[in-house]
Point group: C2
Chain length 318, copies 2
């Protein structure tokens, strides 16, 4: 980092000195005044892998041993049926570990025109929040809509913020967990694409709702990694990371995999949650029959360790 | 150029090169990598009044004299018919002044379902861009949609970014000016409400399109003044300011009128455009017949001078 980059970073960090002030004047209709709330504690780097990204085979114990022995501090778990079928076995393997359980990742959609279908989606997710609360997870990742939402956007926002997400968030808060709103890139949704928008929805939903940011989606939609994370502020609930061209293990896309600007934002807001790999492994090319040649376990391990070191190095620079 | 300047320039070029590299990788569909580009020059405070907010009466000359003699460095003008009827007289009064012409403010709507009506809106605004280019204005403020857009949001974004705004922006760039996208609060539009979204649209539109931020709308919609301006970054084209509860002259809402966090964002991105009063004057209450009692000219002048000083003071703090 040279002097100008340092100064620029310093300017962003200077925001940490801003005063906290909320809008007490309800007559203005202002739900919250968007002043930066300086973090109470400094940011903390918690590198995390999704359970199915852990590069070694074996049972939960073997996988979690590898995570813990290699400098990772959290694990991201699946949602859906896995939560009801596997949680007991998984928590048995978690016993006595310092690893945190970050978010639970899976599909959701609240954009059906038919209210009964929206209600069914809420009912499907409610018991997941009970489990996530019990095991101390950061929250359940939800997307308001995937491609081609049936509801017009204005109605969708209203029903999501005022009804479906609100009911889930209230239950999540009672359970001691959250719903975590994930913006996606335009290839995956036309609706919620920006972290600032997720932050705005989470504010309108209230307690139990948090925005998240995924570097890969952000690289396609945001105009500023740092600005996006600052808009999420103290409410940021989770972060996904991947290589920024091919959505593989961070670092495989070379110079494109520069997260420093985003890490500056995370440091400015005092983020202490997980930065979790949501990505695939690259292949080694094709064999003579045109079939993908996969990496060996050792090659996967080497790649993840390199990614961990890259993230630590860029975090230190930020 | 000394070594430090060389290094600083190299950093900016490096960031631009990284961005260009990413943009060339069309397989990712990534229009631009959202890294912060450090400002080439430090930010500059340019306090501006809309022409109709200038507190004194008289002709253009009297109004512009007052502006210039009281520490304001720019003036915001109307768009619409005013541009064709008044520009010559106005520019006569501008002769020899250091005042800049910031944006031109007026209504627009591109959300008609009928393409012919959208085309008519483009045709109506095109000649305004010719005038604005000639007089060196920062640009024409446009809103993609007001209340109840006829087009579904996805189609509206596509037709705005890919057609109506794109044609206007291309013409604006040829004229040496811009279209400036203004996010509004939910009371005025359900569509474009966040600065990050305006920044994303401006990026997708390309040359001749810039996002702006209005503190008053932002206070209702954004979760971070600073994050929002950082998302606009070097492309930020204009800023509106008002008191944050009642949308009057800055300062009349007391402690609520805290712009420091936003000014930090403006400083971080090296903003050198105008911060322009878009607001009304408060009344002094009602008379015995229930009619509003307006401020005298001297009272208006005092209020604007106090607002100027408040902005200077908060800018210095930021």
């Amino acid at each position: 980092m040279n002097r100008r980059e340092f100064l620029a970073g310093g300017a962003a960090l200077g925001a940490a000195a801003a005063c906290a002030q909320t809008c007490e004047d309800k007559t203005s209709g202002c739900p919250s005044m968007p002043h930066f709330v300086p973090p109470e504690k400094p940011a903390e780097l918690n590198i995390c892998l999704q359970l199915w990204v852990i590069p070694v085979g074996g049972d939960y114990n073997a996988k979690l041993d590898w995570l813990e022995n290699n400098g990772f501090s959290a694990v991201e778990i699946p949602s859906g049926d896995w939560l009801f079928k596997e949680t007991d076995k998984f928590m048995e393997a978690m016993k006595g570990r310092k690893l945190k359980i970050s978010a639970a990742c899976g599909g959701s959609d609240f954009s059906f025109a038919d209210k009964a279908r929206r209600d069914a989606e809420v009912a499907r997710l409610m018991p997941m929040l009970d489990v996530l609360g019990k095991i101390g997870s950061a929250g359940l990742i939800v997307c308001p809509a995937r491609r081609h939402p049936e509801l017009p956007f204005e109605e969708l926002r209203e029903s999501f913020v005022g009804d479906t997400a609100k009911r889930l968030a209230q239950h999540a808060a009672e359970c001691g967990t959250n719903i975590i709103l994930e913006p996606l890139c335009r290839g995956e949704t036309p609706f919620l694409k920006l972290v600032a928008d997720a932050a705005s929805m989470a504010r309108d939903i209230g307690a139990g709702a948090k925005p998240m940011g995924d570097f890969w989606h952000m690289s396609k939609e945001e105009t500023s990694f740092c600005g996006a994370f600052m808009s999420a502020g103290a409410n940021l609930g989770h972060v996904h990371i991947a290589s920024l061209r091919s959505r593989k293990i961070p670092g495989v896309d070379g110079d494109a995999d520069n997260y420093v600007d985003g890490f500056r934002g995370l440091k400015a807001i005092g983020y202490r949650g997980a930065i979790s790999f949501e990505c695939g492994y690259p292949n080694k090319g094709k064999d003579a029959n045109g079939k993908d040649v996969h990496l060996s376990e050792q090659e996967r391990v080497d790649l993840v360790i390199k990614a961990r070191d890259l993230i630590r190095e860029q975090w230190a620079k930020a």
